[in-house]
Symmetry: C2
Subunit: 311 residues, 2 copies
């Protein structure tokens, strides 16, 4: 079964690693958020692409959710002594990815091409695509003004009150080569358990992608990133609350109602099933917390089972 | 006494660290070779400036002569796994310097300004200047064709037979701000024990610098980098041989005869004194091998002694 998945950070990478383990390489395409990409010291950094690549390569740091396991920070420490901002924690091995990518982009390769190279060199056989080769930086509108995403997320630790989001340049951006074709040729589409505003939102903001989902005649299955009223990681629930949405799987259903046909929610949210279910929105209960590799595999298998018998 | 020194790599850095330890900060200006600067993975690398800065900051690696002591190579190792050339050994702490410099140059700061910042952040109070803010890359003409300096020096390990040198762009280069003024205002000029072709040669090729030395009415003192017919480090003697010059302090005297008034040679080369001494060229014998800090200090003190009583 050919599947295309939309993916953000750590939760998405876990689910994709589960799917990658049981799907044939040609069958899985992953479209990754690049809305939180940023430049630091001249380096072009793609946090979600990197988390995806490191996780699939088996070198991700399981404790932090970002970076490379057992990395050192000698370069960053010295940059700090040179007076540089070091709030974004870049390890020495991690830096190699950013140096490589930046150098290739400066040589006029496109982000999708560099991503293909990084996947090949990391032994990844599934197709990982950035949502776009064009920059679409997420802006967080807050009570302290408009902030770049990394500024809000890393430096300000999500403290400012969120009033909205925008995706700069989205109107002029094009999906990366292969994204629309993958969506059109898939037998199912998966929305990973990622933040709906700052992981899935930027992908949906790229012209053509949300339309492709709305028009899809195949199942579009989302896994709720909100479990028991909280995000497993990150600020999704807090953002929903601040924006007046219900911080729950039901709130997720509301945000995705125009294109999702199947919503996978955690067993602990069984009470929400009735509130969510509606014509064109089936709810499936299962264990969605991917504590270890076998839990990733189990959720991935469950999703394939649902999609192979979607009615 | 105000002194300006022309400097290349390791030997120069040792002598300058000796001088820096006994001179007042305002009195010492060092003009450093940038002919072997190069770009790697998009980073702008200045080997001689870095060796000078690391040595004066007390963090240089004494074993290699380049890089930072106790550095790790985690980034480089990973770049190697990504398929990159890794013949130039850049450590993780060392990388911080190159990232910082490259980022500043991309922000349109000049190399001399970035060098001033790096000196300040490394606690260096003497004035370190690149020979030029313009690129003047050394080309090595060999029996295998024309090679970039680092290609000849690091990758090819000085194996090709040298037929000559050129300094690309030298005719259009200007001395960095402060270089000519320092030469004009100094009470003495020191040519460090550096390779005459690829360390001092590029500096002399920048328009105005060799002329300033020739016209200088103050002592111009060179320390021979050749001791007992061999370079203490690097390919200077081999290059002299390949180019038909005598690989000796006498050969150095020949190369510098148009501007040097005092040549410091090692005691072991006493037999050469007569051959070298001439009107306008005084020879001083002393211990020139800087095995440790006290030897650096002793040679520096000896030089100051000569210069304070030059006749």
């Amino acid at each position: 079964m050919k599947i295309t998945a939309l993916a953000g950070g750590v939760g998405a990478a876990k689910l994709i690693s589960g799917l990658a383990g049981i799907m044939a390489p040609g069958d899985l395409t992953v479209v990754v958020n690049t809305g939180d990409d940023f430049r630091w010291m001249g380096l072009y950094i793609c946090p979600d692409l990197d988390t995806m690549i490191y996780t699939l390569a088996g070198v991700a740091n399981p404790e932090t959710g970002w970076g490379v396991a057992h990395d050192s920070f000698h370069c960053l420490e010295r940059l700090g002594r040179l007076g540089c901002d070091t709030w974004f924690r870049l390890g020495d091995m991690d830096l190699a990815t950013h140096l490589y990518r930046t150098n290739r982009l400066n040589e006029d390769y496109r982000l999708s091409e560099v991503t293909r190279e990084l996947c090949r060199q990391n032994g990844i056989h599934h197709c990982i695509l950035p949502m776009s080769d064009d920059a679409v930086p997420t802006r967080v509108h807050t009570n302290e003004g408009e902030l770049d995403f990394q500024d809000y997320f890393v430096r300000r630790k999500c403290v400012p009150h969120v009033e909205g989001f925008s995706y700069a340049g989205a109107d002029r951006a094009r999906p990366a080569p292969g994204v629309l074709a993958a969506l059109q040729e898939s037998e199912a589409i998966v929305i990973c358990p990622s933040n709906p505003y700052v992981s899935i939102g930027p992908i949906l903001a790229v012209p053509g992608i949300r339309d492709a989902l709305r028009r899809a005649s195949v199942p579009v299955l989302a896994v709720s990133p909100i479990v028991g009223g909280e995000a497993l990681k990150g600020p999704a629930a807090a953002m929903m609350r601040q924006l007046g949405a219900s911080p729950s799987a039901a709130g997720i259903a509301g945000l995705y109602r125009d294109f999702v046909s199947h919503l996978v929610i955690d067993r602990c949210d069984e009470a929400l099933r009735e509130e969510i279910e509606a014509p064109g929105m089936r709810v499936i209960l299962t264990d969605t917390i991917m504590r270890d590799r076998s839990a990733r595999a189990a959720l991935a298998a469950k999703i394939l089972e649902i999609l192979s018998c979607p009615a």
